[in-house]
């Protein structure tokens, strides 16, 4: 039965049919599938499937990206309140739109996917100063700072990701906090993330999930090794 739920849910998500996806989930819960199974066996694997499909060249368009993340976040949020015990937080992420930039669509897609994965995410909003990214990451023990920029001059600008890198280096935080960037300029110029000295970049909102999780893992293993 779980397999049926999984395939019906994935199909509804790809069709961007949020109403139908939510219906499938509530029917499944009514038939005895636990909220934990919904999250860990349906929603999260569904996201993984999509991340892998994208990396293998499967074409999904912007509407699908957006709805995938929104549905996943929505379902997880509804299921979390029904969990027997509060879930383990996978990690903590600070995210925001770069200084001088106001765009939020891509960032919202990333946030939806992170929430579905039960990663604690704090959205600092738009036009965020580099200092604020770093201060908040330190205050909240975050492992990753995500900087989103939709325009060339905010992606490359001296107040953007490059400044976050300088601050992390000056404060000796480079092993504790990873810097991930994303947005159209990084897609058009795949070498750009290195020029701004980010640790990684993501091509789109859904792929960002895996990139960020890998970075969180990297920080955790470093912590583990070095105490």
């Amino acid at each position: 039965m779980l397999d049926d739920v999984i395939s019906a849910y994935n199909e509804a998500v790809l069709d961007t049919d949020r109403v139908h996806a939510l219906q499938i989930v509530s029917d499944a819960v009514a038939q005895g599938i636990s909220p934990e199974e919904i999250v860990f066996k349906v929603v999260i694997p569904g996201l993984d499937l999509m991340v892998n499909a994208i990396s293998e060249g499967f074409d999904i368009n912007l509407a699908q990206h957006f709805m995938t993340s929104q549905i996943a976040a929505d379902v997880t949020e509804k299921m979390l309140v029904l969990f027997k015990a509060p879930p383990e937080i996978y990690g903590r992420v600070i995210i925001g739109t770069a200084a001088g930039d106001l765009h939020t669509l891509g960032k919202r897609i990333v946030i939806g996917c992170l929430k579905a994965q039960m990663i604690d995410v704090t959205d600092l909003g738009v036009n965020v100063a580099a200092e604020k990214f770093v201060d908040e990451a330190v205050a909240r023990n975050a492992q990753v700072i995500g900087v989103s920029a939709m325009m060339v001059h905010t992606a490359r600008g001296e107040n953007g990701a490059i400044k976050v890198r300088k601050l992390l280096r000056d404060q000796g935080l480079e092993h504790k906090i990873k810097l991930v960037v994303g947005g159209a300029p990084f897609r058009y110029d795949p070498g750009l993330y290195r020029i701004v000295q980010a640790d990684a970049w993501a091509e789109n909102g859904v792929s960002a999930l895996k990139v960020i999780m890998d970075c969180i893992q990297e920080v955790k293993s470093y912590d583990h090794k070095h105490g």
Binding site: D15, T16, D59, N61, L62, A63, Q64, F66, M67, G100, D101, L102, H103, T104, L105, R108, V126, N127, M151, V152, H153, R156, Y188, D189, G191, L192, I195
Partner: protein
């Protein structure tokens, strides 16, 4: 080039026009040195190895270490033939190079009828002291201008040409970023447009045997960044979000450099028309004047379609104005098979016998690509036949995409092309829906919908409405207007009424920034779907 340089370094440049020697001072990239020296190479990325266009062939190239960006952009064949990226080289000794494709001087051609929209109502001509006037539409991609006999109120000539500033970036933001790097570059960018316009005027004057000293009035409209880059004033402020809804002063402090460059007398008046706010310039203002938007009943909408689509909605008291960046789907370069509406462009697609379709090609010759109206027709047809779903997915396995033509050039509408189209359309739909929401007007009850810009008069309104590109109003309320920016500029040139109209519009307009609007974002996503706008 008379540049005194305190150095013994020289670049020897071989171009199709001959060999030149350019002395230089080490410390800048080859691209910057060439630009400052009068040999700009093509570029679309701002000089960060992002586009691979700034190609130069360097003698003894193997002696110069390769930069990472070069290995990424150039093939082994190119590298071994001596091709390098000018933006990645920092010469410190003499250099011998050839430039195969220098940024070209603007080639001016006569304005075509389909690009031109004559002023509609009889104009009350302003008394003119000097005989001639010039109206200029300073676009990001094209510059268009017309020359007028002012006392007679008669158009004597029209010219169109590519904006040569494109070598500093195809889009507005890249050009602004470049101009912000140094005064020298800003001056260079300004000079390109100034010289190009001067060339057009010289050409027209010579053809008509008139004296440019008799040109008394010039009016310029354009988006704020373009005007600021020509006047050299305040363009850089546009990179800061605080200015995205503010009206900037882009009037040149001193017009004598322009007068001199254009061969005009010191008595001539050159005026840059006030922009509406932020990036939204006087081109939209001119369109609002030309269509008499604020004289219509409430619910009159103007959409100027381009890489950035701008729109203005009149509700009877207030004019709400905004712009949305959708991408270049309709400008002829955004999709894989895209081209401008010129000879060779598929501009029409209609059902034929059975399951087939028929194409209309401009110039009736071979088809080499698809222009905006052809793209709308193709997507509408595919939706209508059920071959494309509302999400933008091809129903059956289409391989690389839908083949539109294979007779001459192979023209295929790929899935990525559909995605690009959806984003552009969603921008427009989202913007229109948001403005209507704010004004409390239902999209289906708009009284007039004026469409100007990239589609000219070729757009099929029914198809556009089926896809949600235009509001679902009775089609007699939709007016395809062509280039309203130039038309409005001409009214401002010719009559005081035009100036009064501009002042009236500026008094009631308010600019909204969709980038800060969460409701817009949801409407954008909703409008990605290929279906009529929600009523």
């Amino acid at each position: 080039m008379d540049k005194q340089v305190n150095s013994s370094c020289v670049i020897t440049i071989l171009t199709p026009q001959g060999e030149f020697r350019l002395p230089f001072q080490p410390g800048a990239t080859l691209r910057d040195i060439l630009a400052a020296g009068g040999f700009p190479v093509r570029s679309a990325c701002g000089g960060n190895a992002g586009c691979g266009r700034c190609l130069v062939r360097v003698k003894d190239s193997h002696c110069i270490p390769y930069a990472e960006g070069e290995r990424h952009r150039l093939s082994e064949t190119q590298l071994s033939a001596g091709w390098r990226l000018a933006c990645r080289l920092n010469p410190t000794t003499n250099l011998n190079i050839s430039i195969e494709a220098p940024a070209i001087k603007t080639h001016w051609r006569p304005l075509r009828d389909d690009e031109y929209r004559p002023p509609v109502r009889p104009l009350m001509l302003r008394p003119a002291i000097m005989r001639y006037g010039v109206a200029i539409d300073l676009g990001t991609t094209h510059i268009r201008l017309t020359l007028w006999d002012l006392p007679a109120g008669k158009r004597l000539a029209g010219r169109a040409g590519l904006n040569p500033q494109a070598c500093y970036g195809a889009d507005v933001l890249t050009r602004l970023m470049e101009a912000g790097r140094s005064k020298a570059i800003a001056d260079e960018i300004s000079g390109l447009a100034r010289t190009a316009i001067g060339d057009a005027l010289t050409g027209v004057a010579s053809k008509l045997a008139i004296d440019l000293q008799d040109v008394g009035a010039v009016r310029v409209v354009g988006n704020t960044a373009m005007m600021g880059l020509l006047s050299g004033k305040n363009a850089g402020l546009l990179l800061q979000p605080e200015y995205w809804t503010q009206r900037l002063d882009i009037q040149p402090d001193d017009i004598s450099p322009l007068q001199k460059a254009w061969g005009l007398s010191g008595n001539s008046v050159i005026r840059f028309i006030t922009p509406l706010g932020g990036f939204i310039g006087s081109d939209l203002l001119a369109g609002i004047i030309a269509t008499r938007l604020i004289e219509q009943a409430a619910g009159a909408l103007l959409i100027d379609i381009g890489t950035n689509s701008e729109m203005a909605l009149w509700d009877g008291e207030k004019l709400r104005v905004t712009s949305t960046a959708g991408g270049p789907a309709f400008e002829g370069c955004g999709i894989s098979c895209g081209m401008p509406a010129e000879a060779g462009a598929i501009y029409r697609l209609q059902s034929g016998h059975g399951n087939s379709f028929e194409l209309g090609v401009l110039g009736n010759g071979k088809s080499s690509g698809v222009c905006g109206s052809g793209l709308v027709d193709a997507v509408a047809w595919l939706r209508h036949r059920g071959m494309l779903d509302k999400l933008g997915r091809y129903r059956d396995d289409r391989g690389e995409g839908f083949v539109l033509s294979e007779t001459d050039r192979r023209i295929v509408l790929t899935r990525s092309d559909i995605d690009v189209f959806q984003r552009a359309k969603a921008s427009i739909g989202g913007g229109v829906c948001r403005l209507c929401d704010q004004a409390g007007i239902a999209v289906a009850s708009l009284s007039h919908v004026y469409v100007s810009g990239a589609f000219g008069r070729l757009l099929d309104v029914t198809n556009a409405q089926a896809l949600g590109l235009l509001p679902p109003v009775p089609i007699e309320r939709v007016h395809l207007e062509g280039n309203t920016a130039l038309a409005g500029c001409e009214e401002l040139l010719l009559s005081s009424e035009g100036e009064r109209a501009a002042a009236a519009v500026l008094a009631v307009s308010e600019v909204y920034n969709m980038a800060e609007d969460v409701a817009f974002e949801s409407l954008f996503v909703e409008n990605l779907y290929l279906q009529p706008m929600r009523e």
